[in-house]
């Protein structure tokens, strides 16, 4: 990734664009993402065809909070990915643009810059791809609704050198989303050498997480996710269960399997699981202690854990230590062009 400072090449491009009167987007300066403690900068996945720039991120943030690009002008990304709820939804199931419940709970969108498969079933291969196929909007709605907003018309010309298009909206929002990085949690400070950063209960919980409870089998790496798809039994007792990853791959091992979510900021969100069926972290821990729900495709890696009540409390204390810091400005409602 390019550094934020002006390089000789950038100075040359600015001078050339001034001389040749190129559109401003041609000289947009690349944005250097500040990666908080505990996250691995080398693992960032920024698509070559959608580099980060400050202006694009600002535009993406406005669009993220703007309801006008949905078909009914009634929902925005922030309707289900609420900053104050860990960028997730406090409702069990999110609601679509017609007020009807969707079939899955809104996953958090923090730290998505570290992986590509999107959604609980990994049905989209990039954030841009996901945004282009959201059911609550369409290319017609985007171009028809936002294309009339004078402020946006000018911004899209400045950032992309184009009118308002669905592709450009997807790129701008994806750029903003990639800046939502959560790190520098109490756990990260503990790992960095601050022994006092974790309570005794959280330290015991960490030992259980990596040992007896074996949570790290799936919630591993600096982002606490193997990016894998596992059947824990959630929802399988229904008459027509959600088949999850199987809908994408048609492989039996993927039946009712869903993506391992990051555990960073997990205490800030809830309800939990792909269908929002478990209300609290303590209940989630108890669910895993029971070994999930038996069904023909239950992951062989699920097993009864035999945790005592106090051990389960310690695990929750550890999970609470994963609440990190996100740039406060990201959460503030932006001014939208009239």
């Amino acid at each position: 990734m390019a550094r934020a400072g002006l390089s000789r090449a950038t100075i040359l491009r600015v001078a050339l664009s001034a001389a040749l009167a190129l559109p401003a987007c041609a000289v947009a300066q690349e944005f250097r993402l500040r990666v908080p403690l505990g996250l691995d900068e080398r693992a960032l996945l920024i698509p070559a065809d959608n580099p980060l720039t400050q202006e694009k991120i600002d535009l993406g943030k406005q669009l993220f909070f703007d309801r006008r690009w949905s078909k009914t002008k009634s929902v925005s990304c922030a309707s289900c990915h609420q900053p104050q709820r860990g960028w997730s939804d406090d409702r069990r199931l999110s609601v679509d643009h017609e007020g009807k419940p969707t079939r899955r709970h809104a996953p958090t969108i923090i730290n998505r810059a570290f992986s590509t498969l999107e959604g609980w079933a990994g049905h989209r291969s990039s954030t841009e791809d996901l945004l282009l196929q959201l059911p609550f909007t369409s290319a017609e709605a985007i171009e028809g609704n936002l294309g009339l907003v004078a402020g946006y018309k000018a911004q899209f010309q400045r950032v992309f050198g184009t009118p308002v298009t669905a592709q450009a909206v997807a790129k701008a929002i994806a750029a903003f989303q990639r800046t939502l990085l959560s790190g520098n949690s109490a756990y990260d400070r503990y790992r960095a050498g601050d022994a006092a950063a974790l309570s005794a209960a959280a330290r015991r919980g960490l030992a259980l997480f990596e040992g007896k409870a074996a949570c790290v089998k799936c919630h591993n790496g600096f982002n606490f996710s193997d990016q894998g798809f596992h059947n824990t039994g959630i929802g399988t007792a229904l008459h027509n269960p959600d088949l999850g990853r199987y809908e994408v791959t048609k492989r039996n091992v993927n039946k009712a399997a869903f993506k391992t979510p990051t555990l960073r900021d997990v205490a800030r969100r809830g309800p939990y699981m792909h269908d929002g069926s478990i209300a609290t972290l303590r209940e989630v821990v108890a669910f895993y202690d029971r070994g999930g729900i038996a069904n023909p495709s239950l992951s062989p890696d699920m097993a009864r854990l035999g945790l005592s009540a106090s051990e389960q409390d310690d695990l929750v204390a550890f999970l609470e230590s994963l609440s990190g810091e996100i740039t406060p400005q990201a959460s503030q409602q932006p001014l939208l062009p009239p």
Partner: protein, 108 residues
């Protein structure tokens, strides 16, 4: 010595001509939810053994057209072998862990 070597070369050439050249064995270990190599070059008839060196279950497969295979659920510690019968390049993945990828180039 030279005579022995010439004899070995001659036998090898005869076996090759008869399609009986020795097949080679390769081992790919799955550890930390990655394959131990990203790229592997083998020849038709060679055997590749996939070893689950992780503490989690894997499901190694390839859906490259004409070269499909699937090991299905492979618990920790188990090994399974695949012999490649035709030349080509295939992508090997794990159906559970989406980040695991291996490219196998099967030479004639």
């Amino acid at each position: 010595m030279n005579a022995n070597r010439a004899t070995l070369v001659a036998i090898s050439a005869l076996l090759t001509a008869a399609g009986l050249a020795w097949a080679a064995d390769f081992t790919v270990v799955q550890r930390s939810q990655e394959f131990s190599v990203r790229d592997l070059e083998v020849r038709v008839g060679d055997r590749v053994t996939f070893v689950n060196g992780d503490n989690v279950t894997h499901n190694v497969y390839s859906e490259t057209k004409g070269m499909e295979f699937e090991i299905e659920l492979q618990p920790p510690g188990r090994s399974d072998s695949i012999t490649f019968a035709r030349p080509g390049t295939l992508e090997v993945r794990c159906a559970i862990h989406s980040g695991m990828r291996l490219r196998v180039d099967v030479k004639p």
